[in-house]
Structure formats: C-alpha cells, structure tokens
C-alpha cells in the first residue's frame, strides 16, 4: 500500500508488441469460465451423478442381454444431453446477466472470436462428456459381468461413438445458439426446453404438420443418433432440423452479439 510496493508490479510503461490471443487459448479460457462458477460446477456434478444413477438403474432394471458396454453408454447420453446445453446457454447469457461482457470484450474486441471460442469450448465439453460416459459405461459393464449376470459385450463401433459425439455437439451448440440469441439466462433456458416440446406437441395434434415434423423436429431426427441407426433420409432430416434449431438461432444470435452495445 505504500510507494515502495508500487514499484515492482507497475513497471515503467514500455511498449512490447504482443500478438492477439490464439483461438486455442480463448477456448481454454471459455472452458474455464464454463466450469469455475458454482452453476457450472453443479451442472457438471449433476451430469456425473446422472451418469452414475442411470448406469445403476440399467444394472438392476434392464434385461441381462441389454447390459452391454454400448447399452450402458447409450443411457449416459441422456443426462449430458439435457444438462450440457444449459452450460452452453449460461456460457453466453452469463456475459450479459452477470455483466462479464464488459471485461470479455474489452480484452478481446473481436467478438466473433469470443463466439467461436465459446462454440469450440462447447464441442470440447461435448467430447469430454462422451469420454466420461464411456468411463461410467465401462464401470457399469464390469459390475454387470461381476454381479448381475450381464451380457458383458464390449462391442462399440466407431459409427456408434461418432453418432453419440455428434448428438452431444448438436445439443450444446443449440444451447449456445439460444443463449446468443436471447442473451438472458432464464428466458433462454425456458425457451430451449419449451419451444421444441411445444413444436412436438403441435405436430402430434395437427395432422397436416406430420410430414414437416419428420424433418424439423430435432428430438425425432436426432433419435437415430443415440441408437446408431442413421439410415437413408435420416441424415437429410437431421440436417434440416439442425438448420432450423441450431443454425438459424446461431446466425441471428451472432448478428445480435456483434452489434449489441456493451454497458
């Protein structure tokens, strides 16, 4: 607090040209921001708890032939599929509701790079959730072999793994996109869960919407991903629904993010 201690950290202002932070570094920062708050910590803890709980349920409740590595792995897609998007939403809306945007965009004025880092951090988190899912599935399968007379098969195809990873990436990216567009945590979380549900209900009630629903209901079109059953027109349908629920809000959200005044 006296002038003597002022000397060391405040050096004589000299100019050192320092390059802009790499996108990799910004992604690491965004990952850290997603996990270093209480909300982030508990969402991740809840996801892990969900893995453990659902693997236990399968262990005791499913038919023995379903107690395979892939069977356990499939069930882990559920908690992360629901909770990761919330982390994605908060990663963007938190900047506005907690006012971090002022600092974030002062340090990195190129907002599109911050947006890219948040999206990439979401992809990394999705991949990590798949790895964690594999870990819990392995534990479940071992327990199944040992105590529950499970089938115990360790078979897992690359296609099944890739589909699962894609499923998680789509979900968390949709969360980030909703957060970017709505810029408000409660609103984005509610609409993220409500809108697709309303759309599903509508399409089941109105006959004329049956065909569009096959193409534009993400919960329907992404189902084969979790079952590794993508075939025929499934990819086209998935692409169409991802376009509506992920790409459109993401594009609109990016425009809003780049233009919004930070105060």
């Amino acid at each position: 607090m006296n002038t003597a201690t002022v000397e060391a950290p405040v050096r004589t202002p000299t100019h050192v040209e320092v390059g802009r932070p790499s996108i990799g570094r910004l992604t690491l920062v965004e990952l850290r921001k997603m996990t270093d708050t209480r909300a982030g910590f508990w969402l991740l803890a809840l996801t892990a708890l969900g893995y453990a709980a659902l693997v236990t349920v399968v262990l005791f409740a499913a038919d023995p032939p379903d107690r395979t590595f892939y069977g356990f792995f499939q069930i882990t897609l559920l908690p992360s599929g629901v909770l990761l998007p919330v982390i994605g939403i908060l990663a963007v809306t938190g900047e506005w509701t907690q006012r971090g945007a002022l600092t974030t965009f002062t340090l990195v004025p190129e907002r599109e790079r911050v947006a890219a880092a948040k999206l990439l951090a979401g992809v990394v988190l999705a991949a990590a959730s798949v790895v964690a899912g594999l870990f819990f599935a392995a534990l479940g399968n071992l327990a199944g072999i040992a105590f529950a007379d499970g089938d115990g098969s360790w078979q897992l195809t690359v296609g099944a793994l890739g589909s699962a990873a894609l499923f998680q990436v789509v979900n968390i990216t949709m969360g980030v996109a909703f957060g970017m567009l709505l810029m408000n945590s409660p609103l984005a979380i509610v609409l993220y869960f409500l809108l697709p549900t309303v759309w599903s209900v509508l399409t089941s009630l109105v006959g004329a919407l049956k065909t569009p629903a096959q193409w534009l209901d993400l919960s329907v079109t992404s189902m084969p991903l979790t079952e590794n059953a993508m075939a025929g027109s499934d990819w086209a349908k998935l692409a169409a629904s991802v376009g509506l629920w992920v790409v459109v809000p993401l594009a609109a959200g990016l425009v809003r993010l780049l233009r919004r005044e930070v105060s």
């Binding site: 708050t37 600092t103 990195v108």
Partner: protein, 295 residues
C-alpha cells in the same frame, strides 16, 4: 496517447455525446469531469470500442481500440467495478484475464498485493466484495497487462479517503513514468489533486479543456468585504465581473491589485483577498456544466 475526434452518440432523438474531441498525452493524467449523465461513460465506452459511435473516431496510440491485437497489454480499462461475475473469486477473475492476455501468472498475486487485497480477500467471491474492494480489484485488472495507457471511469467511487490517496499515488506514479491516464469523475475535488489536464463535459459537449493551471488561472480572485453589496456594486462600476459564493464572498475576474484598488477607491473594508482556489474552479465547473446542459 489517446485521441478523440468529434465523437458523437445519438440514441434516437437524444444526443448523449455531441462532437467530443480531446487528446491525452503520454506522461499526463487527464481528468474527465462532468456531472452524472453528461456523457463521460458513453465517451469512454466508445474509446474502448464497446459502444459504436454515431460519428467521429477515437484512437489509442494511433490505433482504433478494436484493432489493437491484444488490447489488455496496451490499455488498462476499468469502466465499471461491478461488472465482474459475482460467483468468481477475485483471484480467479484476475487469473482468467491473465490467461487471455498471456500474462505471467505470478503477476496475479503481485497485483492483488499491490492493490491491498490479501490472500484471504483473493479467495473470496466478488459477490462478497464491498464497492471499494471491487474498485481495487478493477484497478489490479487494469494494471495486469502492464499497459501504457489507463482508462478509468469513476475509480474513486466507494474508496475510503486512504484508498483515494493511495490511488492518486499509483496514477501519478504511472503517468510520471510516461504512461497516459484518463480518469473520469463527477467530483472536481477527486481529480483536482492528481490531474495535469482537465476536460470538462456537460450535456454531451466539451465545455472546457486545458491544463489545470490554465483553468485555475481563469477563475479570478476571491474577495470578501465588510459590506458585500457595496463591494459588488463597486466592482460592477469598475467593470470587473464578479459572482457571489454561498458564504457571502465574491469571485472577481481580475487580479488582486485591481480588486484591492477598486475597494480602496470606494472606501470599502476588505476581510479577505486571495486567488480563488478550488472553490473558484468548482464554481467554474458548476457554471460550465450548467451552461453546457442548457445549450
């Protein structure tokens, strides 16, 4: 160095900032003064590329802020001490910024120490910080990248007198080593002690811009007579402009000799005659901003 040229910001029919221009040179502290709502914060946000201007431009070291490759290493910015995620600890807040800027992690602890936040305070979440602690954290954040320029919006808000004195020392020291400081305040007294230059803004326009001495010199002499009414009349007859202060004295726009001779010629007894100090500048500040707001 900061250069602001004709910055203008309009929100619909309302003009928040109206053609503001000024320069902050290296080695100086510039006080950016104005009442609340005068357009100080909007101007500073425009300098930092956070608010797109309706017109005009600003540069830092000759480069628009948004084109600085790693702005935190060049410009330390504290625009709002409360704009930090309340769920993070003070230390984590600085560590994140250090990671973005690519600054050595050791600086985080050095700066927490510098601003008077001990290890225990560093582990607390920002939610639990008082406004004064947030300002200290904000200053640490601004200094973290070892910048050459500081842009601080109302940094003394919430600091105790000792904290304000300490901050002046840090800023003076920074400027004396060749740094550029722009700091805003709505209180003249706060910046008077540290600023070399003053830019006064009112109603979105610059109403005064100059060195502190220049602006002080223009504020005349303070004179108090036994009979204020007669003194005021005598000065008016002599063609000396004078304004009353709340305590019954006058601030006359002339030198002490002129005022003294005028009083002597009228046979008036003087109780006080000296250069108008801060009070005069304060008067000027109030008048200027009032005029600016009325325009």
């Amino acid at each position: 160095m900061i250069s602001v040229e004709h910055l203008t910001k309009r929100y619909g029919p309302h003009t928040a900032v109206d053609g503001v221009s000024f320069r902050c040179e290296a080695g100086t502290v510039t006080g950016f003064l104005g009442p609340n709502g005068a357009g100080k914060s909007t101007t500073m946000r425009m300098i930092c590329g956070l608010t797109p201007p309706t017109g005009g431009a600003a540069t830092v070291d000759g480069v628009p802020y948004r084109r600085l490759p790693n702005p935190g290493r060049r410009v330390g910015v504290l625009l709002d001490a409360s704009a930090q995620h309340p769920g993070r600890t003070g230390r984590e807040t600085l560590s994140l910024a250090a990671q973005v800027m690519g600054v050595d992690r050791g600086r985080v602890d050095a700066l927490l120490d510098l601003v008077g936040l001990d290890a225990k305070a560093g582990r607390k979440r920002v939610r639990q910080y008082s406004l004064g602690m947030r300002q200290r954290l904000g200053l640490a954040h601004a200094l973290l990248g070892d910048p050459r320029v500081l842009i601080l919006d109302e940094p003394a808000n919430g600091l105790d007198p000792e904290g304000i004195f300490w901050m002046r020392t840090v800023l003076r020291d920074f400027a004396d080593r060749g740094g550029t400081v722009l700091l805003s305040s709505h209180l003249l007294r706060e910046v008077e002690a540290v600023a070399d230059r003053l830019v006064v803004i009112g109603g979105g326009r610059v109403v005064a811009d100059g060195s502190k001495e220049e602006l002080l010199a223009g504020s005349g002499v303070r004179v108090r007579g036994l009979d204020p009414e007669k003194l005021e009349l005598a000065l008016a007859e002599a063609g000396v402009a004078a304004t009353r202060t709340p305590d019954g004295a006058l601030v006359a726009q002339a030198d002490a000799e002129t005022v003294g001779r005028t009083a002597a010629a009228a046979g008036l007894v003087l109780l006080e005659l000296r250069p108008a100090d801060g009070a005069g500048l304060e008067q000027l500040f109030l008048e200027l901003t009032a005029n600016g707001a009325a325009r």
